[in-house]
Every structure is written in C-alpha cells, then in structure tokens.
Symmetry: C2
Subunit: 449 residues, 2 copies
C-alpha cells in the first residue's frame, strides 16, 4: 500500500507530525503506525499512581487522528528500505511512502546492575495495561525504591509518598536531584519537599546490586547500605529507539540518535526523524544533547510536518532549549535554557538575577505562594541564556515567557524595561514582579564590573 | 531642602521610580512626596469589597521605600518652578531638586451627568479610610449601580455580586463590556459570567440623570429605564492629574497628559513624568493612547529611574502595549496589544488564530479549565500584534509570554515552531497548546490567501 506520508510512532511526536502534515496538505494520505494499541500521555504517567482515580484517565486515544482523516495502524514496523521507500510491518504488510517520518521515541533500558532482571523491578513503559497493573503492584507494596532522581523519578517519588502507606526511597548518582535542569538551590528545595513528605533521598549514591531470590527484596548502594524493597522502579537509563533506522542504514550519531538536519531530515531527504529518537542540538552550543521532552518533540514535529515536501517555513530558531516544568509536593518548578552549572561546564561568562515575591498581591491574599525566579544572562551581550522558576501553578506558563525570550534573543536591558500584565489575583505586583526584577538585579551587577 | 531626586506621587509609578533610581545611584538622595498618607494597591481596590476579609489588607505602606533609605514626605505638592528647580508643598516647605519626577497619576472625574453630585455617588479614591468606609456603605446597600463597564467596573460588579445580598447593575455606553481590551466573543463571555451571578448589565446605555433628593435613589438611562439605587459607583471618567505640571508650564498633550519623550523626559530635561499622568504612545501606531495600568506605569518608571542623569540603558522597545489581566467570576481574562476591533479601526490587515484546549492534560484531571487563546498577526509580515486569553489562573502569566512576543517582534512562523514547556498539572498538552496552535491556524489561513 502506498501512503503519501507514513509516520512510525504514536507518541506526541508522531501525533503532532501527523496532524501538522494533514493540516498543511489535506489532500495527502497520512498514516500512523503504532505498536502500542492502548497508549498513554507520557508526561502524565507518574500521576496514574495517585492523582488519577483511574489509570484509564490517562489513555491517549486515536480520535484526534481519525477525526482528521488520518489512518492509524496498530502494528510494529520491523524493517525499512530507503531504496524501495518501503516499510515492513510485523504482520507482513509492506507500506510504501512518499515521505517517512520516524517518531520511534526512546526505550527504557535497564542499567547494567547485577540483579536488575529480578521480578519486582519495573521500567516505565508507555502502555496503559502495563501501567494499570504496575499501579496495583505499587498500591500493594510496602517499600519501593525509585532509581534515578531526574524529573520522572522525582515525580514518581512524589506520587508514591502521597499514598501514605508506602516507604519510598529515591536513589540518584549525582549530588542533587534534577541537577540537569536546576541549580543547587532549586534542587535542594525539591529535596526538602520530598523529604518532608517522607521520601528517603539517597544522592551521591550508585546502586551496586539488586538483592533477592527471583523476587527483589532489597537494593544495595555503593556505600554498603541496603534499602529493603519489594518493588523497584527504574527511572533512569533509556536510550533513543533507533532499531528501525539502523536497519535502514540511516546515520546514527555518537549519542545514539538518528542524525537529522535543521528540518529534521535524515541524510535521505524522504525520511525524517522527530522526537526522542532524533538528534537534538543545544540552542547555544549546537552540541548534541539528550533532551527527551514531549514539548521539544512536538516543536520538532511541527517543523517536520510543515516541511515534508519543501521548506515552507524557514526554521529561524535553531537548537533545543529544554523548556520544562514539573510539580513536586504541590510546588511548581520550571526551567528553560542553561543553568549556572551548565554555563560553567560550557565556559559561558554570565551574570544572574534571582528574586522572590508573593505570586499575588497584596501578599496576604488567599492562596498566595512565593515565586522565585532566577535568570541567567550572557555577561557582555546581556542575552538571556536560561531561567529557573519555583512557585504556584502560574510558574508553568511563566516559564514560557522565559522560553520565548530565550528563543528570541531577549536581552537583560530589554527585559528590564519590558511591559508585562499583572493582576492581584493572578500575578505578583507590577512593582516587584520577579521576572523583571531579575533583569534589574543582573544589570546592577553588570554596572559594578 | 535640596534633594537629588524628588518624586511627586506614591503610587506604583512613583514607588518604582524611587526604587529604581536608588538602586542605580545609591549615593543620591531620593525623596517621595505623597498626598495620601494611607494608600492602597490600586489594582486590588475592587477586592477590598468581598475577597479581602479586612480592607487594611490592601494597605500600601512606605516600608519598601524607607528600607532602601528613601525619604517619604506626606504632603501635597501645590506648585513647581522649573526655572528655580523647586517644588512648593502645601505645608509651605520648598524642595529643590536635581531631577524631578512627576508621578501624579490620574484623578477620578465625575462625568457631566445631572445629579452626579448627590450623596451616595462614589468615585474610586485610592485612600484606605475612604475605601474602608465605602466598603461599609456597600455592605449595607440593597441596590448598587456601577457606571462604566471597563475592567474596574466589571471587577467591582463581580465582587458586589459575590456579596449575595445586593442587587447590582452595571451600565456601559458601548455595545459590550471591556471592549477596549477584548473582541466581542471574549466580552460576551465576561457578560455571561456576570449575568449568571445576577449582575444586571445595561450595555449601549448612557446615563441621563441621577435621581433623588439629596441622597441618590435611582439612575435614569437614555432608554427611559430607571434603575433604583441607594448607591452609585463611578467607574468611568478620570483623567491624568496634570495640575502641578500645568502650573509649572510643562507641555500638556491634546489628550491631557504630560508630554514626554521616549525616556519619559518632559521638555525640561531635569523633569520626568511617568505613569497615568504621562503621555503614552501606542506600540504600533505611536498615537497617543490612554492606558492607565500599574504594569505600564512601572515599566515607564524603570525607564525613567534608570536614565535620570544620562541615558544608561537604551530604550529598544518603544510604545505601550497595554498588557492587562483580570478575573471575572473566577475565570481569568487577559489581553495585550491590538484586538481585531482595534486593528480594524486602525486599518491593519491581519490574520488571526483562535484555539481552545483544556489547561491541563489529560483534560479529565481535577481543576481543569478551558483555555482559549486568540492571536492577531499582521497579514504579510506575520508579526504578532496582539493576544487575548481566557481560562484558569495560568492565563495571568501566559499573557506575559504574549506580551514579550509582541515587544520582541515575534512572527507567526517563529511561534509555530517555538519550544515551550508543558506539564500535566500546569499547562495544556504539548500537542494542543493553544498558544502554538493559534500560530498554526493563522499560518493555514495565510496559505489559502
């Protein structure tokens, strides 16, 4: 069967590519092949443990696709031939394409820890029935160890600790949780919230082995400490799923992702790759970076979906900024662009501002949270390099003001004089909004240099 | 007494100018003269009726100033002499200055309606004791008529209707409430919310007279309808308070505000004006516009406060965008830049996108609200001209992403491929975020032209 546009993968990257392509060229046939019949919204997986009363609340159906006349095939792509412009499915069917988009995502990979194959050790699979069964196991468990203190691990631990009845351990190799996205003071805030909810945090810790007969009963750290466990959640590892691309002879990067140009084209200009499986270049250094966020994936999907047959919309904003938000213990955290730590690692000379204020005004209104904004600017040029925010739920959209600022090259001097909207029930006061006052503080530092 | 920097006015514009000036040149003496001893946060005045349990919650004290070593004088400036560089206070004191900043605000002005001087007709004064007394009157009233369906009038009516016991009428000359900031569909949403709370809305209505003996007992509309009232709140009128500037011979614009250049300088380069009393030029047309928002005022204050003695920070973003948010009946509304209506009035050729989505994902999570975003772009250039948003509380910060986009010349093509942050508990899904999808929809329209 010949498809104009064939997309392999039904996650956010695949879905958004399909919807974008169909809206741009409605006359073309668009087909999505997905190997998970009952998928879920990936970012909401942790909330299937406690926040959602029923795990099926997180089902990601096909209706948004079929409503637009996009065909959905539940099958697995097992081979591809760029020269024939053809993909072979597990069922034996062969699908020819005018344009192929690989949105094969990332796959969990078990870190090489002795005993990691024991029963009771679970990776996070994006499949509804698997996760519903895992939820039941988690509700029955007494002691759970979460491996990996990135955002998935931290969100899983947060949800587990809300269950009340389960002893939760969180193990992270680095000195702090979430240190890829946040500087130490924000990481420590997250750690103190989780600790306050009873999560036992083990940073600077490697797992030496997983103990037990066939069933896990403990996790041994490199310190020698043994964490008793009847269930282990693996929130680390994972790698781009490039099996199909590799079979097709597509170029794979040193980082293990599918090489693409700025328009998400592989070296075969009929084949695109988007999302977790595709090469991402850092916005500031253009180095390869492993940023596996649905929001990043969908931005790439819009680039690919618009430009499959010709470059219709120039990509003026190059590179990945890793804009990201989360919620730990009811406090919202968000980050975009570079942190101070990542600037140091990459030798950027910087100036920062860090300001707090109540997120409504006056600060005695009901429901007020403290908002903290930290912005990082390049030293001389004053260009915004990154931002970190904590506070109430409004943080989730305020980081997008920062994200747009980064991508548009906003400078500290422009931000100092930027007009923003404020309202007593919705934002900090106009006199003290931390977004603006960070710029003002950074400028004051620059004047003293 | 000689002051380095003398600021007349203790509202957000005056306070922010003082704080900015002091932070830029800590060695200078900064003095604020304010004629209201017990001031309030102006934007929160409506919430003193119902949301705040005690009106003193909204007191705006002097501590933020005195903490920084800024002198505060409670007195009224009654005359100024630019040639002597001197201001005379009501107490008789004379203050000399190196730089003078007029932040004299706007003053309520009674519209020329017969009977408007009757007892029971109240303007909104920014003074705590006055407002505390007014609150008591409002709590005792049976029937209140609010004149003016701008944001102050709509917020007052919203708060009054939450009291439950009071019959509330809202009278507006234009066909819709809040039509300066929103297009009709958003205005109608606001009207339906207020009507659902029992507010009786009279649009397309002028007030012919106010009836009663010495005490008001009704409002007569031009239709002949009589609205019984034992209290009338005037939420219209108002004009820049330029009395002092006029006495000093400063140039007053046709719109009745103090003429200033891009750096908020009057024609006397030792004298600045900021906030409601100062000329504002529209961001797109540079026409004089009456935008009296604290957020606008504080942006001007930062420009003036930084550049009092020399232009230290170039003003790269010119003109006023009127970024604005409010909350009516628990639904948040926000606007920045031009609406379709204002584009039509100014003959801008445009293309729009308008998209809704749940403001969390999946859409069945607790606390979900529908988010609606409408963006207006210039037809050919594709530059963002304005945005309107309704939804949950996150609207208050999302409009700032729009505001920054407008001020940085964001284009529809850039926004279509912009990377944003998303999270299940905080934002719409990355696949359907209305901010992005508006751009996509507008691009689709452009392709068909």
């Amino acid at each position: 069967m010949q498809k104009n546009i064939l997309i392999i993968g039904g996650g956010p990257a695949g879905v958004t590519t399909a919807l974008t392509a169909k809206s741009v060229r409605p006359e073309q046939s668009v087909c999505v092949v997905k190997d998970i019949a009952d998928g879920v919204i990936p970012c909401a997986i942790p909330y299937m443990i406690h926040t959602m009363s029923d795990p099926s609340q997180n089902r990601m159906g096909d209706q948004s696709l079929t409503d637009e006349g996009i065909e959905v095939i539940n099958d697995q792509a097992i081979a591809m031939s760029p020269s024939l412009a053809e993909v072979t499915l597990k069922s034996g069917a062969k699908l020819a394409y005018d344009r192929l988009v690989l949105a094969t995502g990332a796959k969990p990979s078990l870190p090489p820890i002795p005993g990691i194959d024991k029963a009771g050790v679970y990776t996070i699979q994006k499949e509804l029935n698997y996760l519903a069964a895992l939820r039941n196991e988690l509700h029955a468990a007494q002691r759970v160890v979460v491996l990996g203190g990135g955002f998935i691990g931290a969100e899983l631990a947060d949800e587990l600790s809300r269950q009340g009845s389960v002893e939760t351990h969180l193990v992270e190799m680095m000195p702090n949780l979430l240190s890829n996205a946040f500087d130490t003071e924000f990481c420590q805030h997250i750690e103190s919230i989780l600790a306050g909810q009873g999560v036992q945090i083990h940073t600077n810790s490697k797992v030496q082995s997983i103990e037990g007969q066939s069933q896990v009963h403990g996790v041994v750290l490199d310190s020698g400490e043994i964490l008793p466990a009847d269930l282990v959640l693996v929130g680390v590892g994972g790698k781009p799923n490039v099996d199909l691309a590799r079979k097709g002879g597509l170029r794979i990067t040193d980082g293990g992702s599918i090489w693409v140009d700025s328009y998400m084209r592989t070296q075969d200009d009929k084949i695109f790759a988007v999302g977790d499986c595709a090469l991402k270049r850092d916005f500031f250094t253009r180095k390869e970076v492993p940023v596996w966020l649905a929001s990043t994936a969908t931005a790439e999907a819009r680039i690919a979906g618009t430009n499959l047959f010709s470059i219709r919309v120039l990509r003026q904003i190059q590179g990945t900024i890793a804009a990201f938000s989360t919620n730990i213990g009811g406090v919202s955290f968000a980050s975009a662009g570079l942190t101070c730590q990542s600037c140091e690692a990459e030798h950027f000379r910087i100036v920062t501002g860090c300001v707090t204020a109540p997120d409504r005004h006056p600060g005695n209104l009901p429901g007020v949270a403290e908002m903290k904004v930290k912005l990082v600017f390049a030293d001389r040029a004053g260009v915004l390099l990154g931002g970190q925010i904590s506070g109430g739920p409004s943080v989730g959209e305020l980081i997008n003001a920062v994200a747009i600022g980064i991508q548009k090259g906003l400078t500290v001097r422009e931000l100092d004089m930027m007009q923003i909207a404020t309202h007593p029930l919705l934002t900090p006061a106009p006199t003290v909004h931390p977004l603006i006052n960070c710029a003002h503080q950074a400028l004051a530092k620059l004047r003293k240099r």
